[in-house]
């Protein structure tokens, strides 16, 4: 199949279903579809000629026989019984999402006043004054065709609103579950708003609970108003037949702090696109990621950090360990506007290749339009340090175990940046097991290679 054929197929799919999709959605969400349609027609499916997708061949993953559901699936069992998060001592407000649809559950207990956690479809009807202001405002469909495709099909997902001055102590945990008897295309759309001086931690866990293939195109818009802080941790653990394109658009106001940590444990294709706009003085963006690849996996992290105002800081650290025939890519762009003086922007990408056939492409891009900035970037691709390996072995530690300790140390630089203690411990454990080639998923998560 060619990209044009896939584009046609998706266009036809939309034309077939658009009436029902529109009927199920609010006017607001529908109002973005026409432009998204035009943008998608114009941009098409990105090929490797597209600079941003130079190292990711989407066609290898996106084509195939897939069903598209326009209504939430009916389960014969309760989703919360099918899946239980087993991270010890992690006390969270759990939100379940099934194949891209908000999965209704009992109301949240002990949620501070004013906080809203709900389905996006519902929120767009119930809280138009908030949703109207932000929906579709940060995800520019004219720039990215997958954002356009998401906006075209968007029906539901999560809506979160953290009110002014609210400090949410318990993290919110969004669990995206892929569960179906057929191969499925999934679209999920989320909107997260942190009002002035609010603080929250959000943990997103992606799981597939069956061996069916999922192609997920998710898009999350985050708005951080003045002085707000959001910690956003994403763990991706899907079966090897599945593909995920995760688009995150972040808009940050004065002195807001956004930290994201994407831990990619497994999946067929994982593509993380992070677009952040630092749109207020003193805003700070930290984007971190850790990825593991083996077999024929492809994992790509794409970042676009836009410094639009003075005195903003951005820090990026992405690390990858690739084995087998897996491929990885890091494409990190820092854009500094003419008036964004006193910008501090750092970027680092380190990769370890464990096999002769694993590959990684890394490409830093700096576009700076003023002189008063401090920027640095660095990328490495290599093997583990022989001196360190010998040092460990000279103490009686076996070759395999020594390799494992060093890889773990390599990964730990990212894991140590996760602020949620119990989650950090779980990640340490998962990464530990992943590196030993043992189980690398949560106990309750049935994963199929």
């Amino acid at each position: 199949m060619t990209t044009i054929e896939l584009q046609e197929e998706l266009t036809n799919l939309y034309n077939d279903r658009s009436e029902t999709i529109k009927k199920e959605s609010s006017e607001l969400i529908n109002s973005f579809r026409n432009k998204a349609f035009e943008d998608f027609q114009r941009l098409g499916i990105p090929t490797r000629k597209n600079e941003q997708y130079k190292y990711t061949d989407l066609m290898n993953y996106l084509a195939g026989d897939y069903t598209y559901e326009i209504a939430p699936a009916k389960l014969s069992v309760k989703l919360e019984e099918l899946f239980k998060c087993d991270i010890p001592e992690l006390d969270t407000h759990i939100v379940l999402v099934l194949n891209g649809f908000y999965y209704n559950q009992n109301s949240f207990s002990a949620l501070p006043e004013g906080i809203i956690i709900s389905s996006l479809a519902e929120a767009s009807l119930k809280y138009p004054e908030i949703v109207n202001k932000h929906y579709g405002q940060y995800a520019d469909t004219s720039l990215d065709s997958l954002a356009a495709l998401n906006t075209l099909f968007a029906q539901d997902g999560i809506f979160i609103y953290i009110p002014k001055n609210c400090i949410l102590k318990r993290p919110i945990q969004i669990i995206n579950i892929g569960y179906s008897h057929k191969n499925l295309r999934v679209t999920s759309r989320n909107l997260i708003i942190a009002d002035k001086n609010s603080t929250a931690s959000i943990l997103v866990c992606d799981h597939t609970l069956c061996k069916q293939s999922f192609i997920t195109n998710s898009l999350t818009e985050l708005f951080l108003d003045e002085g707000s802080r959001i910690d956003y941790v994403k763990t991706q653990n899907e079966n090897g037949n599945s593909s995920q394109i995760s688009n995150t658009f972040i808009q940050q106001k004065e002195n807001s702090v956004f930290t994201t940590n994407s831990i990619t444990l497994h999946g067929g294709l994982i593509r993380n696109n992070i677009f952040a706009k630092l749109d207020g003085e003193g805003a700070q963006n930290n984007s971190y990621g850790l990825f593991f690849g083996d077999d024929n996996q492809h994992i790509a992290n794409f970042t676009h950090i836009h410094h639009a105002k003075p005195h903003c800081t951005s820090d990026q650290l992405f690390k990858g360990i690739l084995d087998g025939n897996s491929t990885g890519a890091f494409n990190g762009k820092i854009l500094v506007d003419k008036f964004a003086v006193k910008t501090l922007a750092y970027q680092k990408n380190n990769n370890i290749l464990l096999s002769k056939t694993a590959r990684v492409n890394t490409k830093p891009q700096l576009e700076i339009y003023n002189d008063d900035v401090k920027c640095s970037h660095g990328a490495t691709v290599g093997q583990l340090d022989n001196d360190s390996l010998f040092y460990l072995r000279s103490r009686g530690i076996g070759y395999k175990e020594a390799m494992h300790l060093l890889m773990y140390a390599f990964a730990n630089e990212v894991i140590s940046k996760i602020s949620l203690g119990p989650l950090q411990e779980r990640m340490i454990d998962l990464v530990d097991r992943r590196l030993k080639g043992e189980l690398f998923h949560c106990e309750n998560c049935k994963i199929h290679k």
Partner: protein, 249 residues
């Protein structure tokens, strides 16, 4: 305990060790001295199993077993220890995790159960005292950000933890001030007994004031050109190496 016979070793085709013979018995302390570039550190590295060096001739038996065919980890598990001249910094690997893994891998080799967490911590506390380490090693990464003195103390600390039968200390005195030298030497002396042996590689006599050797060997151009008692070290301190070099050149 250790028997080296006609040992030759090369790196990238260049021969560094040109026929070394040495015999070490339990309870003995041997000092290996010699000018820069004579092959002292190469000898230590070859004994520990560093793969960058190629053994071209000769044999080394340790407790009667040919060790040249063994991996570095198996040599260590048999009780061979190398104190590094330049200990490697390994960010991200904590001292505790490192030592716990090393001890338990060595115990496994000896068919012993792993140490319990509390026994392990107790052992750490005990051994830290030997080299007067006061800082909390628990959360620190291996050698990361350690001062020169701390790194060398850490080598002796590891030696104390692992209780080797033969310790080879490669320039353990380099970069140490007088106090650190005394602490390190005291540590080594406390660990000496009739069952184990030590090879001290050094440039200077001053370490040998603290760790008194039974034998002193001079290595030059890849060969041991003179072996004698501890008085040889004093003679070298006074006269330098030139008079010995002349015997060879």
């Amino acid at each position: 305990m250790l028997k080296i016979t006609n040992l030759h070793a090369a790196i990238e085709g260049k021969e560094i060790l040109k026929g070394i013979d040495l015999m070490v018995k339990p309870g003995e302390v041997h000092a290996i001295m010699g000018p820069n570039g004579s092959g002292k550190s190469t000898l230590a590295a070859v004994l520990a199993g560093r793969e960058t060096f190629e053994v071209t001739q000769g044999e080394v038996t340790f407790q009667g077993i040919d060790v040249l065919v063994l991996s570095p980890e198996d040599r260590a598990r048999m009780g061979l220890f190398l104190g590094f001249q330049y200990p490697v910094e390994i960010p991200g690997v904590s001292m505790v995790n490192f030592m716990k893994t090393a001890i338990n891998e060595q115990r496994k080799f000896r068919k012993l159960e792993p140490l319990s967490a509390s026994d392990f911590l107790k052992l750490m506390r005990e051994k830290k005292e030997i080299v007067e380490i006061t800082s909390n090693l628990t959360n620190r990464s291996v050698n990361e950000g350690f001062s020169g003195g701390e790194k060398k103390k850490n080598e002796i600390f590891q030696m104390a933890m692992l209780e080797p039968k033969l310790a080879i200390l490669d320039e353990t005195d380099s970069g140490l001030d007088i106090d650190a030298l005394r602490i390190v030497a005291n540590g080594v002396n406390k660990l000496r007994n009739r069952e184990n042996a030590t090879i001290v590689i050094t440039h200077y006599q001053r370490l040998l004031d603290h760790i008194v050797p039974d034998y002193v060997h001079v290595l030059y151009k890849g060969k041991i050109i003179k072996s004698s008692g501890k008085e040889l070290a004093l003679e070298l301190e006074e006269k330098g190496y030139d008079w010995l070099k002349e015997l060879v050149d």
